[in-house]
């Protein structure tokens, strides 16, 4: 009798565990780089609309993130990868980590951003890497703002430029690519002339901007720094005291800037394909796109997205950024960086 009762109990327990409970909200996880930021309200909107939970995993800088995604390709640790830019795009596509998705939201995005014709990687935002300069210094010294790469090697700008090491920094690599696009094979000679003119090379953007640049809080010795065209807007937005004008501006002359486009993709073997597709649509929608600028200081790719005032006033967009195809970057980036490292030693 006892045994029977026990069996019955077990059976009911089994049944109970089988009856559908109210569905737990699905969780979608997004792997991204450390610079990613977005408003809490925006994510809440998505979570409410889709009865789901969004979780983010930050895994170092863009290169480190991509490496981890490639290593874990067979058992992905996330459903979506955001933050691969055009300098890394080929590596991601060659490793075949993304699943193609023809989002309907792509109709609002200009073709110039759609680098992957098969839509495995979808553009989300862009930003121009340009030289920022200390407006104050140039006005005081009555010094002309350099308008070409060649200008930077002139004696009047001796020791005034700080750049990031392309081997360790993504804006540094972008700037190297801009010079490569302009000078072709002669880019190393140009860099040697920059070196002779006292150009300072540091490991990363933080050091360049906050330690070496004269117009930042670091009050360094260099009056020009490789940064982003949107940095002047950030200087106003994050000023200690309300500012009416930015202390910095960007040199956006033709060919002097390099455009970084960031992509999102659904990882192969994702367990939440439908929800992942919805999230990608959401990232390309106006709501998300209009929230990005003040969080990440990048430009939206959606042509209907409105820019915040501080962007309209102080951020600049390069009119004709340097052009290098992403496949050309992919096949040469390592050898360019190594040649550069050897030349600058």
């Amino acid at each position: 009798m006892k045994r029977l009762a026990f069996c019955l109990l077990l059976f009911t327990l089994l049944l109970a565990s089988c009856t559908p409970r109210p569905a737990e909200p699905q969780t979608i996880s997004i792997m991204t780089h450390d610079s990613f930021a977005i408003s809490e309200d925006i994510i809440k909107v998505f979570e409410a609309e889709n009865d789901s939970k969004v979780s983010f995993i930050q895994s170092g800088d863009a290169g480190s993130m991509l490496n981890q995604a490639i290593l874990t390709k067979d058992a992905p640790i996330a459903d979506i990868l955001f933050g691969v830019d055009n300098t890394f795009l080929s590596r991601a596509l060659e490793a075949d980590i993304f699943e193609a998705y023809d989002s309907s939201a792509l109709t609002d995005i200009p073709d110039e951003f759609k680098l992957d014709p098969s839509n495995r990687a979808l553009p989300v935002d862009y930003g121009d890497v340009c030289i920022n300069y200390d407006k104050n210094y140039f006005a005081e010294k009555n010094l002309a703002i350099p308008q070409t790469f060649e200008d930077l090697a002139k004696p009047e700008y001796k020791g005034l430029l700080v750049v990031e090491n392309p081997a360790t920094s993504s804006p540094g690599l972008a700037f190297l690519l801009a010079t490569r696009a302009h000078f072709g094979d002669g880019y190393l000679d140009y860099w040697k002339s920059l070196k002779a003119n006292g150009t300072v090379v540091v490991d990363g953007w933080e050091t360049a901007y906050y330690t070496n640049f004269s117009a930042s809080s670091g009050k360094g010795a260099q009056t020009m720094v490789v940064s982003y065209a949107s940095s002047p807007a950030a200087e106003v937005f994050f000023a200690s005291e309300p500012l009416t004008d930015s202390p910095t501006a960007s040199i956006v002359a033709s060919g002097m800037c390099f455009r970084q486009i960031e992509f999102v993709g659904i990882l192969k073997n994702s367990q939440n394909k439908v929800l992942a597709q919805k999230f990608v649509d959401f990232m390309l929608s106006r709501k998300f796109q209009e929230d990005m600028p003040l969080n990440m200081f990048v430009y939206p790719v959606n042509k209907n997205a409105k820019l915040p005032d501080v962007f309209v006033q102080f951020a600049q967009v390069a009119e004709s950024p340097a052009v290098l195809s992403y496949s050309e970057i992919a096949s040469n980036r390592d050898s360019w960086i190594e040649a550069w490292t050897a030349a600058m030693k």
Partner: protein
Amino acid sequence: MENNLLNHGDTETLRKKILRAFLSPWFYRVLLWLAPILFLLAFFFLPLSRILILAFNTSAFTKTNFQLILSTLSFTFYQAALSTILTFVLGIPSAILFSRFDFRGKSLLRALTAVPFMLPTVVVAASFNAILGTRGIFSSLFPLSPEFTTSKTFYFLLILLAHVFYNTTIVIRIVGNALSRLDPKLEAAARSLGADSFHVWKNITLLLLRPSLLAAALLVFMFDFTSFGVILLLGGSNFSTLEVEIYLRVLKLPNMPLAALLSVIQLVFTLIFSIHYTRTINQVTTQTAPRFSLARSPKTTRERAFVITNYLLLITFFLLPLISLPIRSLTRLEADRGQRGEVQYGFTTDYYQELFINRRGSLFYVPPIQAAANSLGYASITVLLSLSLGYPAAYALAKPTRLEKFLDPLIMLPLGSSAVMLGLGFIISFGRSLASPWFVPIAHTLVALPFVIRTLQPALASIPERLRQAASTLGASPFRVWQTVDFPILSRATLGAATFAFTVSLGEFGATLLLTRPEYPTIPIAIQRFLSQPGGLNFGQAMAMATLLMLLTTLAILIIEKLRLPNSGEF
């Protein structure tokens, strides 16, 4: 044979055998080592070997790679040797100062020299800049030419300075402790037998100090050898050590076979250093210890001059960079845009107030108090974890057998392995579960464990076995023995070890390279976040957070200093 097992008499002997095995000292040792070894296997050796096996292949053996390895290795050795020598130049007089003399503010100054050891490199780089930068204190007193400040020599000097800044405390601790434990009777005896000061120094002091000098040199050398952040942040793009080269080959110019080869080379060297270190440090602890402090106030003019010079030197070298951060965090350094020209300095508490405001409604924004709470939470778990793993290991190490001699250097290995490689190993070994916040304290424990064991071991070794035996002959249960004999001696060492683990976790070495959950940022991560965007407010807030971290670290170290056993506190 198997049938014989059923035989009654044989079962009896078998049972006895098993019983004896359980009671044998070997079984105890294995039991003690079980948890720490399993921990190291699961979170260090397995992930690391998995990634090394995955990445390694013979394609790394090329001529160009060989040349690269050779030049990197020679620079790594060169800078580490030079840094070690310079660290000793500052460290030895300071060790004498702290062990032989009493003066006002001694414990605070001693604590100050230990603070840099726990600070993240970003913060140290910022504080160096505040002193040596173009508008820094030093540069306004002694203007340096821009040619010099952008030259390779200047960057190299910065690296060396930073290494000295980080590691002087090791020399002060290891050599200083040995000095204060020297039996003064030996020197007095030599003197009364007619030896002059030089001979006393050479034949007695130096001879007795040799193991501790060697141990300090090895440890400093090991830290300089695996230097990463300092080389990358302060050296510009000019230099690369093995660790930097591994980072580049993993993340920036991907060449995994080469990275794996470099990692193996670095591990082999670390192992060699660890073996030498653990051998010498065990000689240090066997020296006779006087029961009273040798420190006294300076008497002669020469002694006074020595104390004052040293005091000032340490104040300038340690206090100036450290104090520059709180000053920066309270100073507005922005040119008034209305009247272009001079930079306006002014006092402000804005940066601290702003720490509590989420301007952009950003998802990952957590108030700094929350980041501090996260840091403290992780640090507490690290303390618990590293103490519970460190205690059994330290017990076993207190009376080393051949097993301990083999295992001892292995515990040190995590200190010298590339964080990038280990991070990748974690990812392929643990996958999705890595997103769990538990991995942060686990990674911290890997780094804290060697320090914790090194702090507990001498205290455990110092407990006389006679006391324990006496207690148990008098009928005390094993627990009672532990409670009345071991515990009083151990409580201070335990607190010291706990504080070590705590500060190591606060400063967070390299663990940021693993996956991070943005919802639970720590103080170093928050600093990094502020520093990654332009704007005066961001920089000010980063400095304010750094100040917060520094205060927490200094407090923790002051606690270690107060609780230090006179003959423990070894690394």
